[in-house]
Chain length 340, copies 2
Amino acid sequence: MRQAVMYAPGDVRVEQRDKPTLQHPTDAIIKVSAACVCGSDLWPYRGIQKVDEPTPMGHEYVGIVEEVGTEVTTIRPGQFVVGSFMASDNTCEICLDGYQSRCIHVEPVGAGGAQAEYLRVPLADGTLVATPSLPDEDLIPSLLAASDVLGTGWFGAVAAEVGPGKTVVVVGDGAVGLLAVLAAKQLGAERIIAMSRHADRQKLALEYGATDIVTERGDEGVAKIKEMTGGYGAHSVIEAVGTQESMMQAIRCTRPGGHVGYVGVAHEVELPGLELFFAEVHLLGGPAPVRRFLPELIDLILRREIDPGKVFDLELSLDDAAQGYTAMDERRAVKALLRP
Amino acid sequence: MRQAVMYAPGDVRVEQRDKPTLQHPTDAIIKVSAACVCGSDLWPYRGIQKVDEPTPMGHEYVGIVEEVGTEVTTIRPGQFVVGSFMASDNTCEICLDGYQSRCIHVEPVGAGGAQAEYLRVPLADGTLVATPSLPDEDLIPSLLAASDVLGTGWFGAVAAEVGPGKTVVVVGDGAVGLLAVLAAKQLGAERIIAMSRHADRQKLALEYGATDIVTERGDEGVAKIKEMTGGYGAHSVIEAVGTQESMMQAIRCTRPGGHVGYVGVAHEVELPGLELFFAEVHLLGGPAPVRRFLPELIDLILRREIDPGKVFDLELSLDDAAQGYTAMDERRAVKALLRP
């Protein structure tokens, strides 16, 4: 089968590889309908994360179940499924608390690489959610978004305790930040301030429900948020970048007692203890437990109440995966969808 | 009046100073019945925090109201009062959310120094809580504890979302840690594991409701907690020390999705972003909003349901304040009470 493989920073190739096979009785093999390039795939692409050997890429996927192991009971061949980027048993205490991305048996689904024709999904019963019937073709981008980028933005909003009456700030206007705006709107936020300095992304943020755009960042951005919130700061702030600057901006935009949900993978971030102590904000972040939210998100998509698929502004054949990486790296695209 | 003043690390003197006077119409002057030495007073005493000039010490107090400003409406001369170590208006949005220690008009009560015969308390209506009548003499240590060390341990437990069915770990066996054990018990925790290696403190922890004692610390301590919790980690962990080691120990003892409440003043602490991200625990800490809890804590003390005053294992005349600092610095005392 064809599969996207990263050889080195800046070097993504689509090549022939063996089709994956069942390795455990709890596995499923799916035929991938669509996959995509994640902001986190750009870390190794840019050389910030090491690439030690040719590495199959991709961890976001939707597809049709081809084969299941003998112990799989809820997922059947022929079903259309959406899955989280982290495989979980969905039965351990951590999963039952809603933190499936940190399941005691967690495995990264992306180990096999989802930017491919076929994908092995471990712990299929606990990882995949099937749609009631085959979805309309035009809903596939939105369902694909649910497997990571929407689930991640949604978790950011939930972690930031977004809700009615709240003023919400979103730091970061990538696909996750934009979908955090969508999530904040769905969760009933009163005011949603998107911090963005790109016209095209501001436009989508406003479509998704942002009430205000702030173009300043760093100390100026914090001052602006304070000014807009009576000097207090926002109730809920979603951090969707993962740098030192964006984390501190998020923390400083939050009022004492408020909540920061951080979903940008925090590379090279060090939080100063004393400032954090006196900020007195709630912090929660990490890899999104997408599985917790999938049933609700799939339902919202199938009822056409949300349209997260709009974040895909570039659609390519899997064969052209390298173009997707380049376009995202150069910020010519927010997010690239790949069709095997 | 007599007052304890720190001249330099290791140099605390009791000397004559002017009695404080009303400076704002929202002030009260109280005659201090009892004050004490805080673990945080040891930071400058040990030279970790700078002492630039002779500094009046102490921020924990109970006393009798002597005089109030013209705008004070709820507090009257003659009342016995307990107050937070941070003055708050108790009317701003931050206070109404329960974070009075970060009130938009916050002032440290300790600026004037509570280890003295008299103390000026700013924002008296929002800071002080009066008891219904003069309390029995033997309850004064417990009421004094409420003004900081009990309120702080209690906040740690609330921030860690302690509740029925939860396994709770307390890192730190100083007065705050011990009272966090008491708080966890009151809040209905199922299991309370005190991490302590001092026999006298273990004894008090058990009296206050600890169900288990763990003497290991660092990686060994974390491994022990994991072993005791089915590999998952604790639901709620209270950090009551404030060092890099204790913060990391607390975070690593917590299960994904669990809660860390940190109340040790985090000096020279840096939290590694990537580890925090993958730990996926809730974090909340800071100076305790004691004012939020005072009515409930005072009530529990007056009804003799809790006895937080037991943490005072050394009682001295104010004149001997220096001995209190020395005893706590040398760990001969958990906490020293001073009588003016």
